[in-house]
């Protein structure tokens, strides 16, 4: 009687588990964030250039972050990560960018726009701009950027053009003269146009920069990593393939070596995988290339918890204990072994989260989640399954003794 109930429970657990894996696959995959190494993107660390008499404060950095956020939004990047680091640095991480090198160009420019007269005096700056729009020109020629000043800017610009009729006004961006047109008549409308030898794309980028405003200080690139979208996609498919082959090898090994408990471990691994990937999707942690390696390694770790338990159970069986008693005392003895050994490993993983950035952090996070999940699954779910199996068959040979 008991045997039949246990078979029924075991069968329904397997069915539920397969259903869980099947139905959670899509939502998990859709919510799992891929790192920039798997979908292309960029990681940039900018450092503010200190100039004399121009201290870089946290306020400066906050302002710069605001400007950068505007620029990045105009690139259409989803979920940009921008944060300050230390006193004078900004870290930017963008994933899913098609042309990461171009994105770097847009980020790093200070975009300080100035109109100067022939003596070099600054007449109006980009601070008083209301809008900037690119117009592509015709046949790829003559792309321009159309500027519109706010009231204050329009006043200054009107006065400046009135004063400089017949002379040249230089349009200077980041201390580089873009063009220096002749002023034919006063322009009171607050509208101006930058002509240069731009391509349509360059005009577009310039408009974005001017619209989102100048950075309060200039920045230099301390660190830059860009990954193109094709490389990201290649890495993803290759590493997923490697992970799947590795997993199948582990599952077969467990089944071949530990027989019935091996099968139980394999079933537990399905729950384990859903759990780890599900938690990662829920926490919004990022799956990186080393993260996939971390996931596969943590499966090895999860199997290890089972191996420790089974070796203990085998030992207890050899002492002549009944199967049920062997499972009970095997788990009891294995508990602290698994706890102590996994906790020391967790120490290394947590230190790595603290130390690492980007992909490495992704690896450490995956590993940490994996270590905790493996303990939970091995000590509860696997244990329950084994007890069920003990109800079904008492044949010690199936336990490899």
């Amino acid at each position: 009687m008991r045997k039949n109930t246990s078979i029924a429970i075991l069968a329904s657990i397997v069915v539920v588990l397969i259903g869980l894996a099947y139905f959670s696959y899509r939502p998990i995959m859709n919510n799992l964030k891929l790192g920039l190494d798997l979908r292309g993107g960029l990681h940039v660390v900018l450092m503010a250039d200190e100039k004399e008499g121009q201290a870089v404060t946290s306020d400066t950095i906050q302002k710069a972050i605001g400007v950068l956020r505007n620029r990045i939004d105009s690139l259409g990047v989803k979920e940009p990560i921008i944060y300050p680091q230390g006193k004078n640095r900004i870290v930017i991480e963008l994933a899913g960018v098609n042309d990461p090198e171009q994105a770097v160009d847009i980020i790093k420019n200070t975009a300080q726009l100035e109109f100067r007269d022939e003596s070099g005096k600054i007449l109006v700056t980009g601070k008083d701009l209301k809008d900037a729009q690119a117009s592509p020109g015709t046949n790829g020629q003559g792309a321009t950027v159309n500027l519109e000043f706010n009231d204050e800017g329009a006043k200054l610009f009107g006065a400046a053009t009135t004063k400089n009729v017949g002379k040249r006004i230089a349009i200077v961006i980041d201390n580089k003269v873009i063009s220096a047109p002749n002023v034919d008549e006063p322009i009171p409308s607050g509208k101006a146009e930058i002509r240069g030898s731009f391509t349509a794309e360059e005009a577009q980028n310039l408009a974005v920069l001017l619209r989102s405003g100048a950075l309060p200080v200039s920045f230099s690139i301390m660190e830059k990593r860009t990954v193109g979208p094709t490389l990201g996609a290649d890495s993803l498919s290759l590493s997923v393939k490697a992970a799947i082959v590795g997993l199948i090898a582990i599952l077969l090994f467990m089944l071949g070596y530990y027989l019935l408990p091996g099968l139980v471990a394999d079933i537990s691994m399905v729950l384990y995988s859903v759990l780890v990937l599900g938690v990662m999707a829920l926490l919004g942690s990022v799956l990186t290339l080393p993260g996939i390696a971390g996931f596969v390694l943590s499966i090895g770790m999860a199997v290890d918890a089972n191996v420790i338990i089974y070796e203990h159970i085998k030992e207890e069986l050899r002492f002549g204990k009944t199967l049920k008693a062997a499972i009970e005392s095997g788990f009891a003895r294995a508990f602290w072994t698994i706890f102590d050994s996994n906790l020391t490993t967790l120490i290394a993983a947590v230190v790595l989260i603290w130390f690492g950035t980007g992909p490495i952090k992704g690896f450490a996070v995956t590993l940490s989640i994996g270590i905790v999940a493996s303990m939970v699954v091995a000590l509860t779910f696997t244990r329950y399954l084994l007890v069920l199996c003990a109800d079904i068959t008492k044949n010690n040979k199936l336990y490899g003794v």
Partner: protein, 280 residues
């Protein structure tokens, strides 16, 4: 098997790796990647028929870079240079595209020297903090003698892996540091499982002599040690075969580290514990 009695042989075996490794670290140092030294690394996809030396020549002719070295694997070209600006990167790409067809920039990394210096400092700090925290935990859960033996065995693993990377001049980058910390994490795991068994056997009423007790504990956990390493090595080998060039260094470091980690847990940690107990 008498592990403790044969410990001299294990020490000799380890020394075969440690001594040349340490000499190499002092004499030729490490092949530091741009993460540590600063510089740029550009990765291009080009026709596999193009030779690495031709690419080196093309780039040198541009007169843009001070140092350039090109490594090639099939149709992937890894170009390492001194730190390039955004414009210079573009000029290198343009230069290659002018000379060859089907040139695709796949990834570009530039790291300033300051960042590299900080990374070295943080890496040392991370390894040190991990070791100290482990020592504290093991002392708390076991006894300081176990903790000391375990941490010394970890140190042994780290020195061997670093030594081999120096000997063969494999590139040391931040993924390598991640690998070292992972190796520490796994090796300590193995060691703790064995020490846990030693602790259990020490609590038994009928106690063997320490050497015999240690041997017995190692034998009782040997199956598990070997099986665990096997289950971890299997996915690592598939990652090495299919995983692509990006994580190769990482996987190689892990492979070597896990093998030595298993070895040190069995053949080094317990003898160290024995030595400490004999002297203490």
């Amino acid at each position: 098997m008498q592990f403790i009695e044969k410990r001299k042989w294990f020490y000799i075996f380890s020394s075969l790796f440690i001594i040349p490794g340490i000499i190499s670290m002092f004499v030729q140092g490490f092949n530091l990647g741009i993460d540590f030294k600063g510089g740029s690394m550009l990765r291009y996809k080009m026709d596999a028929s193009i030779s690495a030396s031709a690419v080196t020549q093309t780039i040198s002719d541009l007169n843009l870079v001070r140092e350039v070295s090109v490594q090639k694997s099939d149709n992937e070209f890894y170009i390492r240079t001194n730190e390039l600006t955004q414009e210079q990167t573009k000029q290198v790409t343009d230069g290659l595209q002018a000379k060859y067809t089907n040139v695709e920039l796949q990834s570009a990394e530039s790291v300033g020297a300051t960042i590299g210096g900080e990374l070295v400092k943080n890496a040392f700090l991370a390894v040190l903090i991990a070791l100290v925290l482990m020592l504290i935990y093991i002392t708390f859960r076991f006894e300081w003698t176990f903790g000391l033996a375990a941490v010394l065995a970890l140190f042994h693993d780290v020195v061997i892996v670093c030594g081999l990377f120096s000997l063969f001049q494999w590139e040391v980058n931040s993924a390598f540091i991640a690998a070292i910390l992972t190796i520490i994490g796994y090796s300590i795991n193995d060691t703790i499982v064995i020490f846990d068994r030693v602790r259990e056997n020490l609590r038994m009423k009928k106690k063997d002599a320490l050497a015999a007790l240690l041997d017995k504990s190692i034998m009782q956990t040997l199956n598990r040690s070997v099986n665990t390493v096997l289950t971890v090595l299997m996915p690592l080998i598939t990652l090495l075969i299919f995983g692509g060039g990006t994580i190769k260094v990482f996987v190689i470091a892990l492979l070597i580290g896990f093998l030595f980690g298993m070895y040190s847990s069995i053949c080094v940690a317990s003898p160290f514990y024995y030595e400490i107990k004999q002297r203490g």
